[in-house]
Amino acid sequence: MAAKEPSILVANGVRKTFRMGDSEIQVLKSVNLAVAPGEFIAIEGRSGSGKSTLLHILGALDESNGGEVMFDGRDVAKLSSAERAVLRCTQFGFVFQFYHLLPELNVLENTMLSSMIQNSLAGFRAKKRELAGRARELLGQMGLEHRLRHRPAHLSGGERQRVAIARALMNQPRVVFADEPTGNLDADTGRQIMSVLERLHQQKGQTIVLVTHDRSLAQRADRVLVLDGGELGEVASGEGEKCK
């Protein structure tokens, strides 16, 4: 993707500090980032470098201690808690390392989670057929059409992660945030999950922000950024592979 296209998501001088007893740990010192629509970027860094924290701030799950995060031209920090929730529900999709599926709901219901939040009791009932159809379609794309009524406890790690991806895509988000999506999977399954994300990006132009500590996975993105010492550095792309 062209880097100079208008950015959908921008971070300017984002800072984040955690208090541990009497001492303060500055995880993010001044992070600057711009994500263009349809771009697939990977943020790479060591464990504890603040990648997930940055992802949470970008995804309006957490608040920074300074700087600004602009989504679609709006300062996320200035939105109310309810407005940020709406943003997460309608504009963003999350895929976590530990899948984070609700154990009481089956695969189909977990996929429709964001729709169940977006729609009222009556509204959901009116659109249930349509919403269930979309969830089935997404699960079909993930190869899970035979697992609709199963609960997460009865799925493998790879299947759970594919359900999580389907859930993230349910409300057709403009940005998907993936936090170490393969971190809890074996190498083969991890590659399969990465292939799903790549296919989403390539076939549907899905904007994806991926966080990983695995350089080989990061290199499959359009652009790789490295978070080190609380600052984000860009990696120039080379022929065949990307390197710092």
């Binding site: 808690s81 009481e104 009222s120 009791l121």
Partner: protein, 555 residues
């Protein structure tokens, strides 16, 4: 203002607000709320502990309130039925005079529907059939009443076993039997059968006469009359010095002869002789007093009364007013003083029972009755010093001593069970706190997918609400079943363990109240629901305030 009442009132105010919020969010908020709260209810077994606590607390409180409230209602109703609306009485057994003038004045009061005099005394009875070797001997309350008037004043007539319909049914059965006897006789005569020693025509005639007498009794019900032909009575006690056909009728409390309401009476009614001995009231020069002079007479047991009030049913017999008045020597009475002065002592009664018209105010009418009674006393220059003065009271004032004791007992039990309910609320709070802790990651998940804090709060409040609704509903069902079958359960318990919880002597009624007041049901089930929501409130607020990132990292 002390801090504890502030906290309590805040909680009381918060519970309905939280309930309204939960219902509003379930109906208008995200579908996820109802989905998750019901799924948690069905899948999280620890919540079933709260459910069971709510069921048991609701059922317990409902059963206790229904039994105690029912007892109080029965007590009030039975006392009202036994007394009427107002009572004029004087402490002691010698009663007061000029009661008829008082009744005449009382009847002039527009709000008064009816008034009748009664006499209360004590006596000894001996009840037995002609062949009985060990008759029942007992000390009893003896009540004299006008059976024609008493039905207009209180519910005594309703307590009589031989209701009009029962008499008619028995008459019809006897008449049918007589007709059958005649038909059988005709058939057998034509077949040349010998009827010795019975005369079928006479048998049919006797049955028919008895049926007619029963019909006459039904037509004149209520009355003291004996319905059977004289020969029936004479045959039973042929050795009696006084002609048994001339003995009057007496009604006894069902417990005096050990009868339950569904026991057959055929072997006792009109067949049992009641020997009654009472202590006469001496109307002497210095006024009435009790003397060691007794009066004994014989009566036929013509009916039994089952008021449901244990003490009344167990030890009371009822006689015609004028008969008891005469037996006690309380009728109009000529006297001669030591100085040779003669006069007539007026007739006396111990009580005047009064019923009021439906829209009458009992307290204001009581004052009018009191004025009428005092007017008669003043007219005859009668002065009864305290505490033996003539008093006018409403029926509930008259029974205040018992009523307030029962009401206090009910209040005490309600307080005790309210404390138990507070424990249940605390239990729900603890369980919900545990559930919220256990579900912390779920909270992070739904928040990351876009649930607002209010949605998260509504999930847990709705969860509490559903426990309250299910628990309250199932508690109501359990309480209904227990209360409805409480007498059978009690009988079964007593049969298998030999232990009777409900002692009729203590509780004054032989059956445990088995009805539920719909107002009690509404209040208690509502409290169960509100309490469940209240128990879930603090955990719900905690869940709503959780940071989604911290919740996702929770282990």
């Amino acid at each position: 203002m002390p801090i504890v009442p502030i906290i309590l009132w805040t909680l009381v105010a918060l519970a309905p607000l939280a309930t309204v919020f939960a219902v509003w969010r379930i109906v208008t908020g995200p579908r996820l709320i109802s989905k998750l709260m019901f799924r948690y209810l069905m899948k999280r077994r620890i919540a079933w502990v709260s459910l069971v606590a709510v069921i048991l607390c609701t059922a317990m409180v409902l059963i206790v309130i229904s039994v105690m409230g029912g007892w109080l209602r029965m007590f009030r109703q039975t006392n009202h039925d036994l007394i009427g609306d107002l009572i004029v009485y004087r402490l002691g057994l010698d009663g007061f005079e000029h009661y008829q003038e008082m009744i005449d004045e009382i009847r002039k009061i527009p709000d008064v529907k009816a008034a009748t005099p009664t006499i209360h005394s004590y006596g000894l009875v001996e009840i037995g059939l002609a062949h009985t070797e060990n008759p029942i001997r007992n000390m009893v309350d003896v009540v004299g009443l006008d059976i024609r008037q008493i039905g207009d004043v209180n519910g005594f007539v309703k307590s009589l076993h031989l209701q009009k319909e029962v008499l008619r049914a028995r008459a019809d059965a006897l008449a049918a039997g007589a007709a059958q006897t005649q038909r059988d006789a005709a058939t057998r005569i034509s077949a040349g059968d010998n009827f010795e020693p019975f005369d079928p025509a006479q048998l049919a005639q006797e049955e028919s006469a008895t049926a007619d007498s029963l019909r006459a009794k039904a037509a004149s019900f209520p009355s003291w009359d004996k319905p059977l032909p004289d020969f029936v009575y004479r045959e039973q006690f042929p050795q009696s010095k006084r002609d048994p056909a001339t003995w009057g009728g007496i009604i006894v409390g069902s417990g005096v002869i050990g009868l339950r309401s569904d026991d057959p009476r055929e072997s006792i009614i009109y067949k049992a002789r009641v020997k009654l001995t009472v202590l006469k009231v001496n109307l002497g020069e210095s006024g009435p007093s009790l003397q060691d002079q007794t009066s004994t007479d014989y009566f036929w047991l013509t009916d039994d009364s089952h008021t449901g009030f244990f003490q009344a049913d167990q030890a009371t017999v009822y006689l015609p007013f004028d008969v008891l008045q005469k037996e006690l020597g309380m009728g109009e009475h000529p006297y001669t003083t030591a100085t040779g002065e003669t006069g007539t002592e007026p007739a006396r009664c111990t009580e005047i029972l009064i019923s009021l018209r439906p829209d009458a105010d009992s307290y204001s009418t009581r004052d009018k009755v009191s004025a009428a009674v005092n007017g008669v006393l003043e007219r005859y220059r009668l002065y009864y010093p305290e505490p033996g003065n003539v008093r006018v009271e409403t029926w509930d004032q008259h029974q205040q001593y018992f009523l307030s004791a029962v009401e206090h007992e009910k209040s005490l039990l309600v307080i005790l069970f309210a404390i138990i309910s507070v424990v249940a609320i605390f239990l729900i709070f603890c369980i919900f706190f545990m559930i919220v802790m256990e579900k912390t990651r779920d909270i992070g998940i739904v928040k990351s997918v876009g649930a607002t804090s209010s949605t998260v709060a509504a999930i847990f409040l709705g969860y509490g609400l559903s426990i309250g609704i299910f628990g309250g509903g199932m508690g109501l069902l359990l309480a209904f079943l227990v209360v409805h079958y409480i007498n059978q359960l009690h009988a079964s318990l007593a049969y298998h363990t030999g232990y009777k919880i409900w002692d009729a002597k203590t509780y004054m009624f032989d059956t445990i109240p088995n009805t539920m007041d719909h107002r009690d049901v509404v209040v208690i089930v509502s409290i169960a629901i509100l309490s469940s929501v209240l128990g879930a409130l603090v955990p719900a607020i905690r869940a709503a305030r959780m940071n989604p990132v911290e919740a996702l990292r929770w282990e």
